[in-house]
């Protein structure tokens, strides 16, 4: 049976990694959404 200095270390690392991946994914999604919305607005103005 193994012993660790911090019983929560591994699970904390997992949670941190998942949080960072989710945050990055959210930021990319927001950026892409902004890009699409921006293009849409630009198209709207150019057609007018």
């Amino acid at each position: 049976m193994s012993t660790r200095s911090d019983p929560y270390l591994r699970i904390r690392q997992v949670v941190f990694t998942i949080t960072m991946v989710a945050m990055t994914a959210l930021m990319v999604a927001v950026f892409l959404l902004a890009l699409v919305v921006g293009e849409g607005i630009a198209e709207l103005y150019s057609s007018e």
Partner: protein, 537 residues
């Protein structure tokens, strides 16, 4: 006039700054602060969550105690049962404090750099833009931080739900697997049914006892003891390798308990009927049968091994075994039997003091009987008054030393009826149970004038007990109440370096009822006890 022109130029420059440079500077400053705040949060989160040892570690939400109250366990709580939220709060509060510090220091720097100098008329617009950038950066950073914290909280919530689902699914799988294999656990000391054993921490320097290690708020696959040693939470995950104890009475359980179906063989009978000797012989018979048929026999606990090693030399030497002490309750011989084909089983042969079978109140202590489906009733022929009276004077004087003290002995009919009443009271369906009746001490009395014409097979022995020894009522009760009854002569002695065949026959017949076959898989064999082959003790 000149001053007016200077004023106009100054105002024009300020307006120019706010229209053309200010917005860009405002955006850069704001973005800078926002990114700075986000970086601070991520670095804080990293320090708390991914560094060991962390310089800003979260205090334990629940510090385990080696001697916790009854509602608690001497183990660290599973991360998602308290510590995860503590980490979230801690990272938010540390980040907030750090960001607040940045804001205060930046604010001080902006004030001293742009509003408290000799060139204040030239620098104040930069100060205004910097302040605005700081405020907007704070707002944007706050929004982003909140989004990250919300993601963190969501991740924690989702993982907590998954942890709970996995924990209870694992419990179900473990319970289901044990039920499918008909594995139940029972304490050989207090005889209570055990849902799950208590386990000692495997660390040699610790040995704290954990009452319930199953998946839950103290761990899903593993739990961390207060000493930080990790332990498996289920038998399917390896907890059977730990030292197991009864959660009701703290008695040690068999090694590997919960990994094999249990077979309970209660041995009943009056005082000094020869139960202890017969039971030890049964274990020896099991051992020899296992050797003969390529099966494996392993002592399930140290106590069984110790007791067997104590009693075996006495049996081999043909010496007397001391009577089982009353008051401590019976203790089982517990052995794992792994046949060549078929599943391994844990066989408990219980060794009660004969006195318990005479007393209804004390008989209740023998709760293990609830789990039994095969019973062995031991009858000392010398305790049957008709038998004793039928012997010749010479035989009586020869057997006198083997006859139990008549002041302590109850008639077999009484002992059987008391035992049966208690079996019924404990809810055993005897109609579906088997009863072996062993007429013991055949090594002593087998050649007596009363038995000379009795062939050692079940039907003849039954007829002899009924017709010549006046036990008809007891036999009728046995036949009426038990699904299957067989009668054996038995001699708990060794013949030609082996246990007497009569004991082997009893063991084989009893185990056949539990679907544990060592060698012959046919119906219960008839006794092959041979009077000539027995070595008198």
């Amino acid at each position: 006039m000149g001053w007016v022109a200077v004023g106009i130029i100054y105002i024009a420059l300020v307006v120019f700054f706010f229209i053309y440079l200010g917005p860009s500077l405002f955006a850069i400053t704001g973005l800078g602060f926002a990114v700075w705040f986000v970086v601070i949060y991520i670095r804080t989160l990293y320090s708390i969550m991914a560094v060991d040892p962390s310089p800003i570690a979260t205090p334990l939400a629940h510090a385990p105690s080696p001697t916790p109250p009854a509602s608690d366990q001497p183990a660290y709580r599973q991360y998602f049962f308290g510590q995860a939220i503590a980490d979230l709060k801690h990272s938010a509060s540390v980040s907030f404090a750090r960001c607040q510090d940045i804001v205060e220091r930046s604010s001080t720097w902006i004030r001293s750099s742009f509003f408290q100098n000799e060139m204040v008329l030239a620098t104040w617009p930069l100060g205004i833009v910097s302040y605005a950038g700081l405020v907007s950066g704070g707002v944007v950073g706050g929004v982003v931080l909140s989004a990250i914290a919300a993601i963190h909280a969501l991740v924690v919530l989702i993982l907590q739900a998954i942890a709970l689902a996995v924990a209870y699914t694992l419990r179900l799988i473990d319970t289901g697997a044990r039920r499918a294999r008909r594995i139940s656990m029972r304490c050989p000391r207090c005889y209570e049914d055990i849902n799950f054993p208590a386990y000692d921490c495997p660390a040699t320097s610790c040995s704290i006892r954990h009452g319930d290690v199953r998946p839950g708020r103290y761990g899903v696959l593993r739990r961390s003891c207060a000493c930080m040693t990790r332990m498996p939470t289920l038998i399917i995950l390896g907890s059977h390798r730990l030292d197991a104890y009864c959660p009701h009475c703290d008695s040690p359980l068999a090694e590997g308990v919960g990994t094999a179906a249990e077979v309970v063989l209660p041995v009943m009978g009056g005082t000094a009927a020869g139960k202890t000797r017969l039971m030890a012989s049964m274990v020896m018979a099991l051992d020899e049968m296992a050797d003969e048929h390529g099966a494996q026999l392993v002592f399930a606990d140290a106590e069984t091994k110790r007791e067997y090693e104590r009693i075996r030399p006495l049996l081999v030497a043909g010496e007397s075994t001391r009577a089982t002490q009353v008051g401590q309750g019976p203790r089982a011989y517990s052995v794992y039997v792994a046949p060549k084909s078929g599943r391994r089983k844990l066989v408990h042969i219980f060794d009660p003091a004969g006195e318990l079978h005479n007393e209804t109140e004390r008989m209740q202590e023998l709760r293990y009987i609830r789990a039994a489906r095969s019973f062995l009733f031991v009858v000392d022929p010398l305790s049957i008054s008709d038998y004793w009276r039928g012997l010749t004077d010479a035989e009586r004087s020869s057997f006198a030393q083997d006859r139990p003290d008549q002041r302590l002995v109850k008639a077999p009919e009484f002992v059987f009826q008391t035992s049966y009443d208690n079996i019924m009271r404990m809810g055993v369906n005897t109609k579906r149970s088997r009863l072996a009746v062993a007429i013991t001490k055949q090594d002593v009395v087998g050649s007596s004038s009363l038995q000379a014409s009795v062939e050692p097979n079940s039907d003849r022995i039954e007829a002899w007990l009924r017709d010549e020894l006046g036990l008809g009522n007891m036999l009728r009760s046995m036949r009426l109440n038990f699904g299957d009854v067989a009668f054996f002569f038995s001699a708990a002695v060794r013949v030609n370096d082996g246990v007497d065949r009569s004991v082997v026959d009893i063991v084989r017949w009893l185990l056949a009822g539990e679907r544990l076959y060592l060698g012959d898989r046919s119906h219960a064999p008839e006794s092959t006890f041979s009077k000539e082959a027995v070595v008198p003790s």
